[in-house]
């Protein structure tokens, strides 16, 4: 069987004792098929019992074991050592605690910050008495296509990988966070919920428009939740419930209008449409430079060929359930 000597370079830190984090290297023989979590246990059992990390289900469902492997959040139990070695063309793997949270010890981080955020954002169904039966003799009728709207967002195991990687969360303390906002969306489209689309206002209050759509949350999620998709749709709902007077919402309208008019995006009109005259002024210096360099097109755009069938498609799409 194939085996390899692998060096695990592990970031260690006990804030109660160490002034600085440091890296410690462990060399072990890894057979093909071994997961990073299994390797961590070999290190703990055979070399260094003081190494601290979390693990529980070891089958990718409890969300305990997320760590950074060569810089990227992964469930240690779901990730094979060999596949990571191949990916990075190396025989050293660096393991570090997740970002964006305080380190408690070694690879263990404090989940309370992201979870507290989630708790504040009403992550639970509040039954709508007009939909959910009042007796336990009946179940709510939920059709498969209604379930489909939120089904995948219920797959989240709260591993916090996405929160660790999230660009917006790193920049903005007030940002709700990917899995948290996705959960808001999950309830917003559950017909059994009393708040329903009004929940989009929670997303708004938690800066959902600050999501930069870097897709990191979708990329790192071990359960294929794709939080960013939920966030985009939650934005849509916020417009629907009347949160229209903000740059994000206006940007959406500008886009939509522009595509409907010509089939293309009118970049020249975007600042005006998204932010009004303020937008134009803010972007004036850059705008002038661009005009001077011949980068600006005419504000009046010629529609694409077969524009009429685009309009048909867009109208039909807006009408279907």
């Amino acid at each position: 069987m194939e085996k390899k000597e692998v060096v695990f370079r592990i970031k260690r830190f006990n804030p109660k004792r160490d002034s600085e984090p440091y890296y410690q290297e462990y060399r072990i023989t890894v057979p093909k098929g071994m997961t990073i979590l299994e390797a961590l246990h070999v290190i703990k059992d055979e070399i260094d019992p003081t190494l601290a990390f979390r693990s529980f289900c070891r089958s990718a469902i409890c969300g305990s074991c997320a760590v950074k492997v060569n810089g990227f959040p992964k469930l240690a139990c779901k990730t094979q050592v060999f596949s990571e070695l191949d990916k990075f063309g190396t025989d050293t793997l660096t393991l570090e605690p997740l970002d964006n949270m305080e380190v408690i010890r070694d690879l263990i981080v404090d989940w309370d910050k992201p979870l507290k955020k989630m708790e504040e954002m009403k992550p639970y169904l509040i039954p709508d008495p007009s939909v959910v039966p009042s007796t336990l003799d009946e179940e709510t009728r939920v059709y498969p296509e209604e379930l489909k709207k939120y089904d995948r967002f219920t797959d989240c195991i709260l591993c916090t990988s996405c929160f660790s990687a999230c660009t917006a969360a790193q920049m903005d303390e007030g940002y709700g966070g990917p899995f948290q906002l996705a959960r808001v969306y999950r309830f917003a489209v559950d017909k059994r919920d009393a708040l329903k689309e009004e929940r989009a206002k929670i997303g708004y209050a938690y800066d959902m428009w600050n999501c930069v759509r870097c897709e990191k949350c979708a990329d790192v999620c071990p359960k294929h939740v794709g939080p960013v998709d939920g966030i985009m749709r939650l934005r849509g709902l916020s417009i629907k419930v009347g949160l229209k007077d903000n740059p994000g919402a206006r940007h959406v309208f500008a886009f939509y209008k522009s595509i409907l008019e010509s089939g293309l995006l009118n970049e020249v009109l975007l600042p005006l449409r998204a932010k009004g005259i303020k937008g134009v002024l803010e972007n004036l210096p850059v705008g002038i430079k661009m005009i001077l360099k011949g980068k600006a097109h005419s504000p009046i755009m010629r529609p694409i060929a077969e524009h009429e069938n685009l309009v048909k498609v867009m109208k039909a799409a807006m009408e279907v359930e």
Binding site: G33, I104, L125, E139
Partner: protein
């Protein structure tokens, strides 16, 4: 010292349901204490589903559910408790549905149900193959909604009582390393299963180490039917990670090396959907008789073949199974059969309780897998544990909430905390001539060999001796990590010590039960013996530290024992 009205130890389905129930009663101070964050609990790993006679797919009734359960239990279940559970099942399913649980649905919008082993009808409600996950998430969400207080990453060490009433417990806050006494008028244990004892081959989480039963044992509280350990037929070849029974429920085949659907020789009618004990024995027999496969590492296995279900059905109903097979076996079930072998899965036995979850100590309850009501008897049916945990979690929560009103706290001697500090200190100062990983392996081997799927007097005795030897040797273990902050080395050592204590009771029960019943298959007593053994084994530790086994009658109401055929 902390003080609560009620402390719930464990935040799986059992613990959370109890918590929700207590939160309905205003003014009670309740905490849920758990060694992992609630949603990490092993309830989340349950895949296949939860049983209730909703009759959404085929006409069904709680009574039929009860009969199947009793028959599945090989008539060892207490029938009054089974009836209660099956009666409550449809209501509690709907209650969770009303909390937002995203069950899979039928085209007409009702909750979908799938066939499961040992059931006469498609009775298992599910959410694809992640039922436990969404259940746990939903219950947790509702706990947030109702402001339940959590003590996350606290490890319970011991129970404190005055011989009659519970006084509270001691626990270590893993984050700070502090050992704390917690006073409470009621304590509900919901610490889950213990099949991690079979360390090398189990479907269980690393922390399913029987802490609850071990604490109970140390506190003189009896355990019941400990010899019954369920081996699930379909664990992945290398790791023992579970492939849900739902895979067979959806129509999966079991195939041996001769390409044969061998279940036809063991359960011609039910085939792959016979109960677990039977299917596991069938697979092991195939392997023993040379009709299994063997890989280059020496792992023996048979195949679970899903290919004929087709891509769409697999992606829709068994997406997680597909991913587990890909990640952990490198096999895509859409294209290849999955190599499987039975894996230690579930503990039918546990802390002895009545049908309200009450133990012999007033105010001390046990619910879920750590307890034994008993509704599963000698063999649990798939889909009945998720039901058990919520039903009895609810009942115990309700009972506890009612019972603490107007009650005074029982005296909690400070020395209890001191004792735990001493105990932990002695582990730091251990001799260190024994090694944890080594002992754990030896325990696992001894248990698999002696009290595994097939058992006999000699093998059980050997196992029992070995466990006792390990218990002695474990005194020389040492905790090398001396930090207070998140000392996982200490935790794993404490968990191991708990497993050893519980292992002894499994072997002892197995030795004394001289018959074959359900999951307890003795080759030297191949028949069920209702005359002598239609009774529960009860083990308690005496003052002298020795285990004592006694027997307790089974409650029979409607269903007289009969031969179990599938």
């Amino acid at each position: 010292m902390l003080t609560y009205d009620i402390v719930i130890v464990g935040a799986g389905g059992g613990g959370l349901y109890a918590a929700l129930e207590t939160s309905r009663r205003k003014g009670l101070k309740v905490a849920v204490l758990s060694k992992v964050y609630p949603t990490r609990s092993h309830t989340g790993a349950a895949q296949g589903g939860i049983n209730a006679a909703l009759g959404n797919v085929a006409p069904d009734s709680p009574e039929k559910h009860a009969y199947d359960t009793v028959k599945g239990s090989d008539f060892l279940a207490d029938q009054d408790a089974v009836e209660l559970m099956c009666e409550m099942a449809p209501k509690i399913i709907r209650e969770m549905e009303h909390m937002g649980l995203p069950f899979s649905r039928l085209p007409d919008g009702r909750i979908a149900q799938r066939p499961f082993g040992g059931a006469s009808f498609p009775r298992t409600c599910y959410a694809a193959d992640k039922t436990g996950h969404v259940m746990l998430q939903t219950l947790y969400e509702q706990c947030i909604r109702f402001g339940v207080e959590f003590l996350n990453e606290w490890f319970a060490l011991s129970l404190v009582h005055n011989g009659e009433r519970i006084a509270g417990l001691t626990a270590v806050n893993l984050r700070t390393g502090e050992i704390v006494g917690i006073r409470a008028k009621a304590v509900i244990l919901a610490t889950g299963g213990h099949t991690r004892i079979y360390w090398k081959r189990t479907s269980n989480a690393l922390g399913n180490t029987g802490d609850g039963p071990a604490m109970a044992l140390r506190a003189g509280v009896p355990l019941k039917d400990m010899e019954f350990v369920q081996f699930h037929p379909t664990g992945l070849r290398r790791t023992g990670i579970l492939v849900t029974e739902g895979a067979r429920g959806e129509g999966g085949y079991l195939i041996n090396a001769e390409g044969e659907r061998f279940m036809k020789r063991y359960a011609p009618e039910k085939m792959e959907l016979a109960p677990r004990d039977l299917v596991s024995r069938a697979i092991e027999t195939e392997i023993m008789e040379g009709r299994g496969f063997e890989d280059e590492e020496g792992n023996k296995f048979v195949y679970l073949d899903l290919r004929h279900l087709g891509r769409k059905k697999i992606l829709e109903r068994l997406p997680q199974i597909r991913e587990l097979a890909i990640d952990f076996e490198g096999v895509d079930p859409i294209e290849e059969p999955i190599p499987i072998r039975p894996t230690a899965h579930y503990s039918m036995g546990g802390i002895d309780t009545d049908k309200y979850g009450r133990t012999v100590i007033k105010g001390l309850y046990a619910v879920g897998e750590c307890g034994c009501v008993s509704v599963h008897g000698a063999n649990r049916l798939g889909g009945n544990s998720l039901l058990d945990i919520v039903v009895f979690g609810k009942i115990a929560g309700e009972d506890a909430a009612e019972s603490v009103v107007g009650l005074e706290l029982v005296d909690f001697p400070e020395v209890e905390v001191k004792e735990q500090e001493e105990r932990i200190k002695s582990l730091f100062d251990g001799e260190g001539s024994e090694k944890l990983s080594q002992l754990r392996r030896e325990l696992s081997d001894a248990m698999s060999e002696g009290v595994g799927i097939f058992r006999d007097e000699e093998r059980i005795k050997r196992a029992l001796e070995k466990v006792r030897e390990i218990k002695e040797r474990a005194k020389k273990l040492k905790v090398y990590d001396r930090e207070l902050t998140f000392n996982t080395n200490l935790q794993q050592t404490l968990e191991f010590l708990n497993m050893v204590e519980v292992a002894e009771t499994i072997a002892l029960g197995a030795l004394e039960r001289k018959e074959s019943r359900g999951a307890h298959a003795r080759t030297d007593y191949p028949k069920r013996d209702d005359e002598n053994f239609l009774k529960h084994s009860v083990i308690r530790r005496g003052e002298d530290g020795e285990l004592r086994l006694t027997w307790k009658p089974v409650v029979i109401t409607k269903f007289q024992p009969e031969e179990r055929k599938y």
